[in-house]
Symmetry: D3
Subunit: 146 residues, 6 copies
């Protein structure tokens, strides 16, 4: 049950049905793909079959990382634009910067194959999870799926 009356005002549609878990799942996938990419070895260029499998895997993993980073950014921005309201700024004065930086981390994870960026993204999403549930006076555990 939603005990936070602020969230009912002027929302786009499903009032009260916001959950940082959506962004968390995407961020976990970004981290997972980043880790996988970091351990792939390029085969010898004369092994045609292995080279084809290598390209297929690289292209797919890079593409999934891109998609998941994009979805993560979108889910975070929905919380920023649709859930959080002006009264929240009193309690969380750094709200805008928090979301701006988290969105930019999503971009870094696309542009690079960087374990640190992917881990920072997980922390940023976790931080937003904490801010979100605090704003609803609820204590919801941060539970990873992977």
């Amino acid at each position: 049950m939603n005990s936070d009356p602020i969230a009912h005002a002027h929302c786009d549609g499903p009032c009260g049905v916001y959950d940082p878990a959506a962004a968390r799942i995407n961020a976990e996938a970004v981290l997972s793909m980043t880790k996988k990419l970091l351990v792939i070895e390029m085969p010898a260029t004369d092994n045609k079959e292995a080279l084809l499998a290598y390209h297929n895997m690289m292209t797919r993993y890079i593409h999934i990382k891109e998609e998941q980073a994009q979805k993560c950014k979108e889910e975070l921005l929905i919380l920023w634009t649709d859930y959080f309201k002006p009264p929240h700024l009193e309690k969380f004065p750094e709200l805008h910067e928090t979301f701006w930086k988290a969105a930019k981390l999503c971009s870094h994870c696309k542009v690079e194959v960087n374990l640190q960026s992917a881990e920072k993204l997980m922390e940023a999403v976790k931080n937003i999870h904490e801010i979100f549930w605090k704003s609803k006076d609820r204590d919801v555990e941060w539970v990873l799926a992977s």
Copy 2:
């Protein structure tokens, strides 16, 4: 951490990053929109401004219910086709029927504005949440966002 070796085989992409929470969020939205739709009153047809607001709200809520029911169906089917593997059928012999019925409940929620169907969908998703985490030897709480 993923303790289930079965899930690593032949997956579409982010191995281990499956979470019924995605389907849960969508199902909660379907229930929320269904409840909202059930309490809207049609204004007198000579009150042009109220009639316009009524149509805008009805159309939007029906459309959001449709989108969320569709996403719920897609998220559930990803679990069925990509996460669950043949060895799981021994432990969960009713797996196919479970997912088939849950998907059909998503359809019912689109085709009707029916509180019972929306509540049954929540139960179906909860049941799948339980099967999913049981298959991973993990105990993850069923926590609603709304």
Copy 3:
């Protein structure tokens, strides 16, 4: 030609190819659909053919307004997350609030059929157009398509 070196850092993809015109086109469509919706008359309920045409038009216009308001929000957020960088905050200290309010105006235009909100959205996009080109030391005219 892009004369602003700041914009090259850490972008998601097409460096330098950001243009508020995309958001402007969407905002113009929101205003256009809002105006059309405000002048539709509901026919007598015994004129079956006219009633069907009325519903078709209402549903379509509300749906297009929804889509365009959503695209406008997305285009604006791309500028905020991907184009603008920390050094820009010195010159435009109200950047975050500006984008936050503009995104919320997109939501208002969805939730209501309100001429004032649609016109405010046009002003908000125009303001962002001015901030954007100022940040590039370029003077680009604000030209409406409609």
Copy 4:
């Protein structure tokens, strides 16, 4: 097997895998939804439950008609821009007009709930089916799914 060498040149991706059947399925759906919409009766405005079911059905059918008409247009345009090549214009000098009119019929089917337009769209797609298979020196039956 593709016996038409012209189709191999400069295509976007899956050379030879073009099939007007995709557009046909969408056109059949447009016709189906149009027929369904034409027989719905608006209930008495004091029957709240029936009115809600009526709005849900109207909104959904109009939305599906819109989607299917849009997909039909897209499928037809893929054939025009990607499959047909300059040498085809000798054999089919009216090619551009044919596709232009068919695309505009898709628009008519969106803008109106008109049985004639929906039937004309089926004929337009059938005509394109015939032109397409003739260009490949193949005789493929026009088979409706509905």
Copy 5:
């Protein structure tokens, strides 16, 4: 014309307008792209222009294969969840397993560049085509576009 009354119950929208041809077209594209990928040769790494063309082609073909395999999976699942009803299980007791395996073949075709998997997918879709038309007491030819 749809002669099967079972298909009218509880469907998502366009009753009767289901056609395995949609999935067939996607499967043909998967097979086509798989064949193309299997014959591409990697050029010498000092030929910059050829290397760029090679990467462009590889990336595009892998991406199109991915998209088409995903669409094939979606089209098949629409038939499973929306068209087939409980009474069909008597006539086709292996229905669930059939669709589950076909969906998993779509995944195999993404994860690998494997001619056998792509051919098996074609057979799986053909089998579903046969089940589908048998359930409608109709005999519709299996006609390839490529």
Copy 6:
């Protein structure tokens, strides 16, 4: 303001809100990505970290080029099918060929990494921009964002 009465007839939705600027932005992005791709150097195959960054960049740029070329094609086709009407053919007898060739240029830009094709696409979009504004008796400057 729209001074062209022809454009009001039979349009898909937002009458008067058509703007070639949308296609221009996409074409600029295609050109931008093409230029970037032409200057990337493949690192030595024994430098694992550089090779990974190279693949990530190549895959992303090729994918963005693909997306933007596709969006450009879609935006152009919206103008052709929805904005232009039969009376326009008198003033612009080459209309169909113009759009057909522009759409095919979008395809060339996908299939190749070719600076000439990307520049020709910019010219094609500029030409359509000129035709479009001429049809509205308006003089709108061709202004690049990049």
